[in-house]
């Protein structure tokens, strides 16, 4: 089975832990990574790419020191190695200008506001992972119990 990662980025330790906790549902089949800054995330991305592991979803906060979430996700969007990686912005403090940049440049796949509903976060990640796996042509059968059935039915064509 291919290793698929879910990366969470947030400069606040408690938020990071709480996101991880809400995603524990995926932990037995997917690898959940925590990063405390955009730079740490970039390093991790390099490492994962070197290991030829998949990055399914990146969940990032926006307001972080040194480098913002939108900047990080824009870089990921332009990096051909992470084509198809789903990007979710999780923030309570994005201005309209930030939001516009996030949509236009970072090509966000989803936007959730802090404070988030754990159920909603889990469902969103479920859908994004399903899309990622089918679009990448990975063996969806291997992960089927953690995927979103309606999304799966919609995407399977052969």
């Amino acid at each position: 089975m291919d290793k698929i990662n879910i990366i969470c980025v947030d400069d606040e330790r408690e938020v990071l832990e709480s996101v991880s906790r809400d995603l524990a549902y995926f932990a037995d089949m997917f690898n959940i990574e925590e990063c405390e800054s955009a730079f740490e995330c970039e390093e991790l991305l390099e490492e994962l790419d070197a290991q030829q592991e998949y990055v399914g979803v990146i969940i990032s906060d926006h307001v972080m020191p040194e480098k913002s979430g939108v900047e990080l996700l824009t870089e990921v969007a332009l990096d051909h190695r992470f084509l198809g990686t789903k990007k979710l912005l999780l923030t309570g403090l994005a201005t309209q200008a930030d939001t516009i940049r996030a949509i236009n440049n970072a090509k966000l796949d989803n936007f959730l506001e802090k404070v988030w509903d754990p159920q909603e976060l889990q469902q969103t990640v479920k859908e994004l992972l399903t899309e990622y796996i089918v679009e990448k042509g990975l063996e969806y059968e291997d992960y089927i119990e953690k995927l979103d059935p309606p999304t799966l039915y919609r995407l399977i064509k052969c």
Binding site: E141, I144, P149, P150, L152, Y153, R154, C158
Partner: protein
């Protein structure tokens, strides 16, 4: 240790078979080539059962090992024994040719038709129109759904049909009450109908294609001839499945509305798809009247859809090459058994003739049904059909019951009837993923339908033989 067994066994066991002295197999005058064919066959069995590698990879491995070990252009040391001991090497062209055998071309044509139909939304639009007359009573909506699923899966892959129908069903199932058993019935109706529907045509499901490889010469069955018995079988099975599902899991909801959006496309490309679809099917049904066999007809849509860019370069990449390769490997396995002379030799050595022919038909199809519940239907057919075809051809006591055709068809139908577990078929896995069905409910329906299906198969073959339609 147990974890590694699935990797060790498929390597070790065939290797031991290769090293054994030729006399240890109990077959007189067994050649080296025949011994290698046995080793490859055993490897294929272990790989398909234990799945250490993807099932299509096993098929490719079969063909490559055959080319290396038993072909006229294989490794040097494989050809160094004296001719008598060595046996018949097989032409490398024949082995490579399995990748493009007429049966593969028939399937390719089927893929093109299915892909174009999906792309130009012929499938969804037909489903919308055809479901209308079934009204809003859950019972009859389900019957409609099952009939349409079955018809589609005769021409499309069972998996694609299931995914499409389940996506239509999902919003409807959400409206059912929490304890309404009707949910189970609806979620199960689609994979059941898709699995059964595949039996209806030669291109409905890969095991049928594998069977065609062994239905040659006087046993040849054309596309239309297959449908003459395949479709009635599907109709009867569907009706039984419907009765079973509505009795076991009655819906308490009184009315359901399927809401399928869209309208028929009327662009020139879409019309080309409709016309080509209809003409291809008509040509298939006409049998030999126009001089073309079904394999030749299958390539017409391939040409038309490529010419008009209905299937583009990008679409071409999405064709299920893995399914085509999986079937090729099965065909190659049969070529190996047959051309090496092993099939003929082994059957002389084993006293099958003393076995009652009906016992053989029942035993082989029951074994097939059992295997198909736990592994890929195509892999099951790949393994069993070459064996039963060889057996059937040599058993004269089988003739009064219809000969090898009856045996081959019984096993082929049985392969499609394995549907009692989520792992039995991809359609089952998709329906199980919906979360509305428990394994035990699926098993109950699958086991009953499997056994009834086998009995109906026997009855049908008996009637066909009495009418001298087969055999």
């Amino acid at each position: 240790m147990k974890k590694y067994l699935k990797y060790l066994l498929p390597v070790l066991v065939p290797f031991i078979i290769l090293l054994l002295p030729a006399s240890s197999f109990g077959i007189d005058g067994m050649t080296l080539v025949e011994q290698r064919v046995i080793a490859i066959f055993v490897m294929a069995t272990l790989c398909w059962v234990l799945e250490p590698i993807p099932i299509y990879a096993t098929s490719v491995l079969i063909i490559v090992l055959q080319l290396l070990l038993i072909s006229d252009k294989g490794l040097w040391f494989t050809k160094s024994a004296p001719a008598e001991e060595l046996g018949h090497l097989i032409s490398h062209k024949a082995l490579m040719g399995t990748f493009a055998s007429p049966i593969i071309m028939l399937f390719l044509g089927g893929f093109f038709l299915a892909m174009a139909a999906t792309k130009y939304r012929l499938d969804v639009n037909l489903a919308r129109v055809l479901l209308k007359p079934f009204g809003q009573n859950p019972k009859f909506v389900m019957l409609g759904l099952m009939m349409i699923t079955a018809v589609f899966s005769m021409f499309m892959s069972n998996t694609a049909t299931t995914a499409m129908m389940l996506s239509i069903l999902t919003p409807v199932i959400a409206l059912f009450g929490r304890d309404d058993l009707g949910k189970v019935a609806f979620a199960l109706s689609v994979p059941v109908a898709a699995n059964i529907g595949g039996i209806g045509t030669p291109i409905g499901t890969p095991p049928n294609a594998v069977a065609l490889k062994y239905l040659v010469d006087e046993n040849n069955i054309s596309f239309g001839e297959w449908m003459v018995f395949g479709v009635p079988f599907v109709v009867v099975m569907l009706f039984i499945a419907w009765l079973l599902l509505t009795t076991l899991f009655p819906a308490s909801i009184k009315e359901i509305n399927l809401n399928i959006k869209g309208r028929f496309l009327k662009t020139p490309k879409a019309i080309t798809v409709y016309v080509t679809f209809v003409i291809t099917i008509l040509l298939w049904l006409m049998g030999g009247l126009h001089g073309m066999n079904s394999y030749v007809v299958a390539l017409i849509p391939v040409a038309v859809f490529s010419m008009f860019k209905i299937i583009t370069k990008e679409d071409l990449k999405k064709i299920s090459w893995d399914v085509l390769w999986l079937v090729s490997g099965g065909i190659a396995l049969g070529v190996g058994l047959d051309k090496s002379g092993l099939a003929a030799n082994a059957i002389e050595a084993i006293p099958f003739a003393e076995l009652h022919p009906l016992l053989l038909i029942a035993g082989a199809s029951a074994l097939c049904l059992l295997m198909a519940n736990f592994m890929s239907h195509t892999a099951t057919a790949n393994l069993l059909l070459p064996l039963v075809a060889a057996l059937g051809a040599s058993m004269h006591s089988l003739l009064p019951y219809g000969g090898e055709v009856v045996l081959i068809l019984a096993v082929t139908f049985a392969a499609s009837l394995g549907m009692s577990l989520p792992i039995s078929t991809p359609p089952n896995a998709l329906a199980y993923a919906s979360g509305h069905v428990e394994t035990r409910q699926m098993a109950k329906v699958g086991v009953v339908l499997g056994i009834i299906g086998l009995l109906i198969t026997y009855a049908m073959l008996y009637v066909l033989n009495q009418l001298s339609y087969v055999g």
